[in-house]
Subunit: 360 residues, 2 copies
């Protein structure tokens, strides 16, 4: 639980600094990195989305900023209490817990959750603390199985002995301790149905891997879990999604981070992640044409957007996107079932892994 | 695994019947209960949504019906194979696995998943078999903790020893065996964040209950799990949702079933379920007014629809809906955090349960 003491210290120091400024008769202020697109760039060295150096002041004695200043202090104090009591709160709970009407006025501390969310991210950036390390949890999805034993809240959980269900990934994985990790790679799967197929077929036992489904776009808990397993145990990460822009973006968020969370790409992203498929070439290679779906206008539009993102500028990805734009069809994970229910388990994935046939 | 043999037998008999009709030179046909609203009624005796007695014929020698007949045979045969091999498929996989182009034509067996889904439900109704009992799985969400030990696929899973994560509820819970169930009731929670709050506060230990979140509208796996625990162990079920029409409907689906699955209300519904809150009265009683949200037009419209449903005609529900329509605001589970983060765990829920303050 080292992060806990560190978080308490960081929040405490920030509070002390504010108090000292007040005692010295200064105008107390926060210095907050700017999070608009103008201050986001793609760092080619680390290959991830990053924040630039622009910062904005948030002062108390300033009519325009006084309310935001108050909100920042409220969040600071709320997070500090959470950590001191070692309890967690969802973003929604935090909003309600901090929302009150100021005495002798109709003015609320917060009117909408947007406001508290935004201040929470401000603090996250300013203090270089993940919101999870302040015990503020986003909602979550995702499940996992494999030859892994963890300790969490005093329970020892064996991910290999959970029946058909698997372990439900919590929103906060900071405090998890890995007791045993016996796996050669992590297979991250967009859809739960495909995860159930591979789990039923004992894919993770045969190939000694961890099977993890994000159930759609990867929630923060799952991204952080993937990153920790990758960094702490050097496990390769293969991402398996539909062959469409939505699937590609799921992959890129796991790998590089997302635009609105660019400040924590290094805390949530897994640079090593590779895209195992489905690719456009797979559709030819594995004779899936018969089970493709016509792309919709929004798919085309989204593909053209992705094509312009710096982190999709690699040759192989430009080719992939161009093929999609030319053919105007997509294929889902489940289309492999057209070749037989176990085709994905017994043919497709083993071949792709053996041949290291990945996009990077 | 008694259901497995029973399912194989039912599907096998149906196939034999078709073969015999062909051998006797008859026009082979299926007799399929009609599933349109005209054949759905609310049964006041069992207090659940039911199908009437109308049936439609589906013949092979009939230009209009031949394709549907073929599709029905394909699904019958596909499900039979699944059961024989004891594997499962998602609805999407099933669609792809059965979709092919007929020789010397441009005609597909299935063009869209809607078609295969609909035929699967036809068979479900005709044979009185849950689709899960044919090993056809819907997608799923939901997690659970409590003093329960189950056996599933050879693994013994202890729901009380899963750290912060809990057991991920699979799409198919037919084969689960309950080894030990030590609980006084089941608390079903709409939202994962509230579930994490109660789990962290050890609510299930203090009150000896099972904590289950549906993560939104209850998926079939979760509904069936709730029903099995209720019926096999006589456990009361309390449903805890936001105070709005969406929350009420989540409750009513758990209790009575849904319109489009009226044929299996008795296989998925839990008649005993009670609504623990939030109610409009709770908002006064627990001083939550400050954290309510203005109702939107769609909320009002939906409330007026629910008011007309037969299964919301009970006096207490009509009063509840009327109050909502009059006040025009709603309250979320998390609004209880306005009274303090642990208010829900230490005050609200214990009081509601002790006073049996439920809507039925």
């Amino acid at each position: 639980m080292k992060y806990l003491e560190e978080s308490i210290k960081k929040l405490g120091n920030e509070a002390k600094r504010i108090v000292e400024e007040i005692m010295q008769g200064k105008n107390p202020k926060f210095l907050i990195p700017v999070r608009t697109l103008s201050n986001v760039y793609f760092d080619k060295k680390t290959f991830s989305l990053r924040l630039g150096n622009k910062k904005a002041e948030r002062e108390f004695f300033n009519l325009k900023e006084a309310k935001k200043f108050l909100q920042t202090v409220l969040v600071l104090s709320f997070a500090y209490q959470l950590l001191k009591e070692n309890v967690h709160a969802s973003l929604r709970e935090a909003f309600y817990a901090m929302k009150r009407t100021l005495p002798n006025s109709n003015e609320n501390t917060f009117d909408e959750q947007d406001e508290s969310d935004s201040v929470i991210i401000d603090l996250e950036v300013t203090l270089d603390l993940l919101r999870e390390q302040m015990h503020l949890n986003a909602d979550t999805r995702g499940r996992v199985v494999g030859n892994v034993i963890i300790e969490d809240r005093g329970d020892v959980v064996d991910w290999s002995k959970l029946g058909s269900g698997g372990w439900a990934i919590p929103s906060n994985v900071e405090a998890i301790e890995f007791k045993k990790v016996d796996a050669e790679f992590i297979l991250v799967i967009e859809k739960n149905a495909a995860w159930e197929r591979l789990h039923e077929d004992k894919f993770w036992q045969k190939h000694n891997c961890i099977l993890l489904t994000t159930q759609g776009q990867a929630p923060r808990g799952a991204r952080r879990l993937i990153q920790r397993l990758n960094q702490e145990f050097n496990l390769p990460v293969y991402v398996f999604t539909d062959s469409d822009p939505y699937g590609w973006y799921i992959y890129s968020v796991i790998k590089y981070g997302s635009i609105n969370l660019a400040h924590i790409s290094d805390r949530l992203g897994t640079k090593d992640a590779k895209f195992i498929g489905l690719t456009m070439t797979d559709i030819d290679e594995y004779k899936l044409k018969n089970w493709t779906i016509k792309a919709k206008d929004v798919d085309i539009k989204r593909a053209m957007e992705l094509k312009e993102y710096e982190w999709f500028k690699k040759k192989e990805w430009q080719k992939e996107i161009d093929k999609f734009l030319e053919r105007k069809y997509k294929a889902e994970l489940e289309s492999l079932a057209g070749r037989g229910l176990k085709f994905v388990t017994e043919n497709y994935l083993p071949e792709k892994i053996k041949n290291e046939d990945f996009l990077d």
